[in-house]
Structure formats: structure tokens, C-alpha cells
Symmetry: C2
Subunit: 263 residues, 2 copies
Amino acid sequence: MDNNGLAPSLPNQLVSVQETSMDGKADMNITTPLAGPYHPQAGLLASFIQETNFDRSLQLSGIKRNLTRGSTLLHEEDKAKYIYDVVAGTIKAVKILVDGRRQVIGFFSAGDIIGLPLEYRAYYSLEAVTASTVLCYPITQIDAAMGHSPDLTKLVFAHVHSELEKQMDHMISLGRKRPKERVASFLLKYYRRRQEEGFADGGIELPMSRVDISDYLGLTQETVCRVLSLFKRRGIISARNSHQIQILDLPSLEHIAQSGLIN
Amino acid sequence: MDNNGLAPSLPNQLVSVQETSMDGKADMNITTPLAGPYHPQAGLLASFIQETNFDRSLQLSGIKRNLTRGSTLLHEEDKAKYIYDVVAGTIKAVKILVDGRRQVIGFFSAGDIIGLPLEYRAYYSLEAVTASTVLCYPITQIDAAMGHSPDLTKLVFAHVHSELEKQMDHMISLGRKRPKERVASFLLKYYRRRQEEGFADGGIELPMSRVDISDYLGLTQETVCRVLSLFKRRGIISARNSHQIQILDLPSLEHIAQSGLIN
DNA sequence: CGCATGATTGAAGTACGTCAACTCTTGTGG
DNA sequence: CCACAAGAGTTGACGTACTTCAATCATGCG
């Protein structure tokens, strides 16, 4: 329904408002094959297409899609047919057990790419944590394009590597870290990301709920809450509200992330 | 030192015994670029080269390497320069925290491929659980070959997909399953693999130590032991020795793997 | 303004980890 | 061939950190 200020990133003339029904679960607009001036927030793949002398005849076109909070982009059982380029908002990848237990595999936000070449059965669902905008590239197009562009192949493998490295860290977190370490590491990850974006103050934004965090960290929401409360009592962090955290004592947080010990 | 029956898979004429020192940590032989009659146990990449009309001029050659039990194939800090094709034995991928805690990311045995194109800093160490044989393909060669063979690119991405799917399962195991479920799932994984190999009896082989299993499952060795002992008492499994397990009650094991509940 | 949802705090129980003792293997050398 | 040592595996006792269950407190949306 709403294009509520989420995607001012693409020049208007690129975006037609033609509605289609991909799986009928969220709204979607279609762009013409990407052209026009480069815009940094148009998504990584789009940027790549702009930056390199990428063969336009390959017709690599991203379908822009707006997702409302909570809507599902992809179901775990479905066949994955698109690679998603997150332009705005936050998407979570979730696996669910038969009895309802959830494991959040990862959170993706602007600048992240979700998915891989070679159509496959999805191994997780994708849900919008907040209202989000993604560019959808048909995998078949990516497959074809890779055959003609070694640079694109490299880009994709670089993406795979960074994805795998993240998951390794996540795995050691789930398998071998204590709750305090997991929460501290989680906060630090967002802090570092924020730093890379050029914001050196300790302010971070956690767009997801406590339940999402606990499902990501393999804990209960109560444990996550208690750890955060502990950090607040110790003056390590403060919170404007449950989504806006301020890191006050970075060294302590880093120490806890490694040792799990709190003074 | 010994080529003790581990790699009878390659016709002898393919294997020269020239010694080199890759990192000086294990013995190694070099093959000439693979040629000669196809052999199913020569490794997946080698099979691919044999089966398809793959351009021989690309000079994709596997270096055969024998590893003694416990030796290290790759260190976490090193740059990954090879893709490994396991021919015999079992290799474990391990991440270690500063204080010594270990997380085993996965176990690889004959038929498995380890690694990805595009040279990168390794995100785990690779160690031989048992005496093993691997074929090492220089990543640079794979990179180059992929540029000329879309089929090889597909093979690699199929490998990436199966690898990622395994890791998703592992992640949900670490994050959301109880110890009993983890151990049961672990046993079932080996059972299914055995089944795919055509052995329908419930016998499975666990080549790794209890500590390795616990580091894989995110538990202590004591907990793994206790759970296995419980399964034995309940008549769900029996054990010839600590590495040779017989599954007696498959339905129960499958039930435990899902619910964690034991009658 | 009121309700619904999410977040937080509290109390109680237990499953898993820790520490420790003991047993079983395996391999080596006398 | 047996004895011994070293390592791996197993079992027991105990404590606690986390989960579970429950109540209360914020927050935001209709």
C-alpha cells in the first residue's frame, strides 16, 4: 500500500507503479531495467551494474518491492527464484521447527544481499522486521549474467564469503558462548556497523523485537532482557527506548563479549 | 609417510610421488593433471572433469595429499589457497576462541568438497580426524576454469547450497535443540548418509572422539556420553565400541530428534 | 482514552555444566 | 607376551545459570 518514505532512493522515473502478484503476500512495484544516474542507495547489484561496464544487453533488471512490517518475502518451503538486494528496512531469515521453536539465521538491512545463484529450495523464510524495500533480481537472470561477466561472479562469491564468515561467527556464538557474551557480541556487531557508516557515537538502533533477538541468539526473551538490564545497571549501556541503545562503556562490552565475565 | 590403504582410488600411474612442502605440516604427493579412466572415488571435482567435456587445456590439476591423524590442513589465520576434495578419511572444520573453547563447524568425509572459489582468509581450521587423503585444487585455477565452464560454476554453486543448508540445520540445532535432540539428530545424519551409500542396516561409524562430537554439538563431552548411555539403556542404540554404533530403534530416535522427549 | 502488544521483573525448578573419580582402550617397550 | 602408561570414555555428586511460569509495567495504536 504505502511507499511511506522508505524508498526515496531511486529516481522516480525508474519506478513504474505496475502491480504484480509474485506470491500475493506483499506489495510490489516494477522498475524498468536499471538506468539513469547512479545512486548509492539503489542496492549493491544495481550499483555494480552502474559502476562497471556491464553489458546492458543482458537485461539484468531489479523488481522493486515494498514490504509491510511482518510480511513474508519468501517461505521456507518455496523455491527461491530471486536474489534480494535490501534498499531500506530490515529483513530477518528464520527457520522454524515443527513445534514452533524458531531460529533466526540473520538480519539483513540496507546494503545487504540475500540469496544465491542457481535456483534452489529455500532453507529459510524471509520476513520483514520493519517496513522494507528490496530489489528482486530473478536468479535465472543472474545465472545467465554470470556466464558473461566474471566480475559479477566475483561479486557474488565475495558475497558468499562474507555471508559464510558471518554464519561461522554466529555458530560459535550459539554453540560456545554464554548469554552475556552473545548479547554483548550482538550489540557490538551493530556498533561496528554503525561505525562503518561513519557514526562514531555509541548510539545503535535495534529494529527487531526482543523475541527476534532471543531467537537469533538462541536464548529466551527473558534472558535477553535480564542481560540488557544488567548492562544498564552497570552503566555499560543506556536505552532511550527498547530499540534505541546507547553504548557508554565500549571496553567493558568488548571484554564481556570475549570472556562472558562482568566485573 | 604411509599411504596405508587410504587411497587405492586413483590408478597408480596418475600419482607421482614427488614431495613438496605446502606448509610443512603433512605429507603430500602430486598427481599429473588428472587423466585416465574415471574412478568414482577420485573425488567430486575429478569426476566432474572426467564426466564432462571439460576443456583439458585449462589445466585443472589436483594435488593429492595424505594427512596423518591430527595433522592440520589449514590454519584459521591462513589464506585459503586450495579447494579440497576429500577422497578418504574424515576432516573437521574448527573455530577456536581465545580462551580455548572450540566449535566444530562440520565434519567432511569421502565425497565432500571443502572450500570456495576466490581466495580468502580462512574462517576455520581444517584438521584430520583420522588419517585422510584429499585432492587439493588451487583456487586460482578453479577461478579461471569457472570463467570458461558454466557447468563448473553450477557445480560449485550446488556445493555452496548444500553446504549452506547443512549449516542452517546445524545452527537451529545449536540454537534451539536440547542435548538429546542434538545427539539424536547427529546419529540420524550419519544413519542417512550410510543409507545413501546403500547400507540399510542400522550400523554407523563415528570416526571422531566424544570431545569432537561435543564441540560440534555445543555440549560437554560428559553430556554427550550421558545421552548416549541413556539411549543404550533404553535400547535405542547399542555400541560395539565407542566409534561403532548400531541403531536399534529408528522411530524412537527420530522422535527424540524432533521433540527431545524420551519415553 | 483504553486496549493490545511488547518489555521487564520476580520466584521457583531443573537440566546442564563442573569437578572428580574411575574404567576401559590402545599402544609401546621391556 | 604381558605390564604399564597415557589417553579416551564413562559415571557420580553437586551447584548454578538458565528456563519456565507468572505478574506487572511500558508503549503505541485505534
